[in-house]
Amino acid sequence: MRLLIKNGRVIDPASNVDETLDILIDRGKIVKINPKIEVNGSKIIDASRLVVAPGFIDMHVHLREPGQEDKETIKTGSLAAAKGGFTSIACMPNTAPVNDSRGITEFIISEAKRNAVVNILPIAAVTRGLCGEEITDMTDLRNAGAIAFSDDGHPIENSLVMRRALEYSRLLDALIIDHCEDRKLSAGGIMHEGITSLKLGIKAIPASSEEILVARDIVLAKETKAKVHIAHLSVKGAVDLLKFAKQQDIKITAEVTPHHLFLTDASLESFDTNLKVNPPLRSEQDVEALIDAIKEGWIDAFATDHAPHTPDEKDVELDKAPFGINGLETAVPLLLDKLVNKNILPLDKFVAMISTNPARILGLENKGKISVGTDADLTILKLQKDVIVDTNQFFSKSRNSPFNGWKLKGAPVMTIVGGKIVHS
């Protein structure tokens, strides 16, 4: 069936468009874009006073399936994504078993075909079992459908293994996403090392733990000419390193999560386990540096690092709680409220960071843009919509959000994937 979206304010950073246009969708593709389209026999969506953007892409999600279906499944994660305005999500390989073989990648893809309402893009492991020792069969995994490679949460400690992985990735022009943490420096750490950790006597993760691995990855990326993407950038020092790298001919990109932008380590005074996340919530100065870097265009993408955990797992003392924040259903309202509606980031820059750039980084040629012939993945936003975050209303299986009860302005109102309305 054909779908006609009328009178929306269409924003497409890829083609530099920001105007009121009608969009006609047929068989999952965008077939026509014009100021005024009149056709018979199509479903019409009135998008007046709404923003129509290329479908949002979250390149950092944990779907937990296979193995930890009590936290999340491909189905519930995709429903949460659709509700949160995302049309494509890339899922990390730290499942049980780890996605380090064709079998698991194929399982995720077939499960997604059966149950998911958004595009699921599996990220495969860089090393077998995420052990940091032997690199995986990257070509086979790529051919099976892996979109990128990462040992997220288990950064490769051995620089030689990292170098070998980067060298090999060039064979496929594959992307390696790194969670940058020197685990010797961060050992036992629960929160950011700073005044609050000193005050609370909580074992801490220093900024240097992130900075050292970012620096290493930059040096190796330069040496190998491979593509590296820094996951969840969180400290000022790492931002400075990113700027340094980007001013040279190094293929490096980076993402930032909403929680690292809108929360600081000081909030841990409540000992709320929903604030326990890795990398940890950082200082006020780090947050300022991240926001400045976004404004100046140094950071490429927003990503959620959606990390669902069951209420029971989080209902324990801080030491015992797992790291992670549930992010898919809060990210877009948070970013719209705190950045776009507060005039810190123009709307088109926001769309670029949450759609255009992730598509480019992941090499998704038919996504992240609105033009004739591309996939009909669209996210429709209402900038003035008031929402109150209520974790009980989450489509995600888990509830671990520190944003429960936050009042925000701006939210996705409709999500279209391949021409199908998957949430409204």
Binding site: L198, G201, I202, K203, F271, V316, L318, D319, K320
Partner: protein, 312 residues
């Protein structure tokens, strides 16, 4: 009503007046422990649980005696022989104890914030008896009580705290308390155990004990945990002793009437010379003795009044 808290989770949330109320109340309890019948009926019928997840001699016995001298019934939870070893969570453990109608739970736990966590779902009064490296409020209170006995007033005193400040809940609670009471606190220790950022809490710091100790009224020595050395936080016990041990020679640089404190357990001959521990300048055993009166005061102030709706 001067003391309006449901729990004692730390020194940090208390006001100067709250602290004075506890110390003044404790004065009245000292005499009870000197009686032939060391007991008053005040908390008769109240049930208190000593929930200790970490080993303790002084604090656990002190709370137990404090409760018994107020005629409360006290139950000692022993982690080793509990269902915690079978994997029972802290929450379930506490809910089960509460189902037995406890009125107060005294908790010691390795995790900072564990008392705060259980206070969120408990009906009982929660008393923090040490949560990781965070706080140990009754220790700071008994230290303040002991200093007051010797020096009358805390205000304006120079108090030097020496040792592993970073990992010490005793140091934190003392820093918070002494600051509120207007004392001058100087912390001393090797840099890895005394991050410079501690000065944000209103203290001075010094890496040289010989210099810091000059003019001190009170010297508070902390236990140095021998396993820290394996983590390279300082190179060796030998070098630590050379730089940070309290010796008679160093002690002579302090004020003539200075006193020596230590929360225990002591490593004799490591952080402090054995002859100083046993000298007349040491008030270490008075600290222990005063602990009972201070903990009686805390139990009385929390449990002795009407149940209040307010939480803190």
């Amino acid at each position: 009503m001067p003391f309006d808290h449901k729990h004692l989770l730390g020194i940090e949330p208390l006001s100067k007046l709250d602290i004075l109320t506890i110390l003044d109340t404790a004065e009245s309890f000292v005499e009870i422990s000197t009686r032939e019948v060391k007991k008053v009926p005040t908390l008769r019928g109240k049930t208190i649980v000593n929930l200790f997840f970490e080993p303790s001699t002084r604090t656990r016995c002190s709370f137990e005696l404090a409760a018994k001298r107020l005629s409360a019934d006290i139950v000692n939870f022993n982690k080793q022989f509990s269902s915690v070893v079978k994997g029972e969570t802290l929450k379930d453990t506490v809910l089960n104890l509460e189902a037995m109608q406890s009125d107060a739970i005294i908790i010691r736990h390795a995790c900072p914030g564990a008392p705060h966590y259980i206070s969120a779902f408990c009906r009982s009064h929660i008393i923090n008896a040490g949560d990781g490296a965070h706080e140990h409020p009754t220790q700071a209170l008994l230290d303040a009580f002991t200093i007051r006995q010797k020096k009358k007033n805390l205000e304006g005193l120079k108090i030097v705290i020496v040792g592993d400040i970073l990992h010490s809940r005793v140091a934190r609670s003392n820093i918070f308390l002494l600051n509120k009471m207007g004392a001058e606190v100087v912390c001393v220790g090797p840099p890895a155990l005394l991050p410079e950022e501690f000065k944000e809490f209103g203290i001075a710091f010094d890496y040289t004990l010989d210099r810091a100790i000059r003019g001190a009224d009170v010297i508070m020595m902390l236990r140095i945990q021998l396993e820290r050395q394996q983590k390279n936080l300082f190179p060796s016990i030998r070098e630590y002793r050379d730089l940070f041990s309290l010796t008679p020679k160093r002690f002579r640089r302090a004020k003539r009437n200075a006193i020596i404190m230590h929360p225990g357990p002591i490593n004799r001959g490591v952080e402090i010379s054995a002859n100083l521990v046993d000298s007349a300048k040491s008030v270490i055993l008075q600290q222990v003795e005063n602990g009972i009166a201070v903990r009686m005061a805390v139990l009385y102030l929390l449990l002795g009044g009407k149940e209040r709706e307010t939480t803190d």
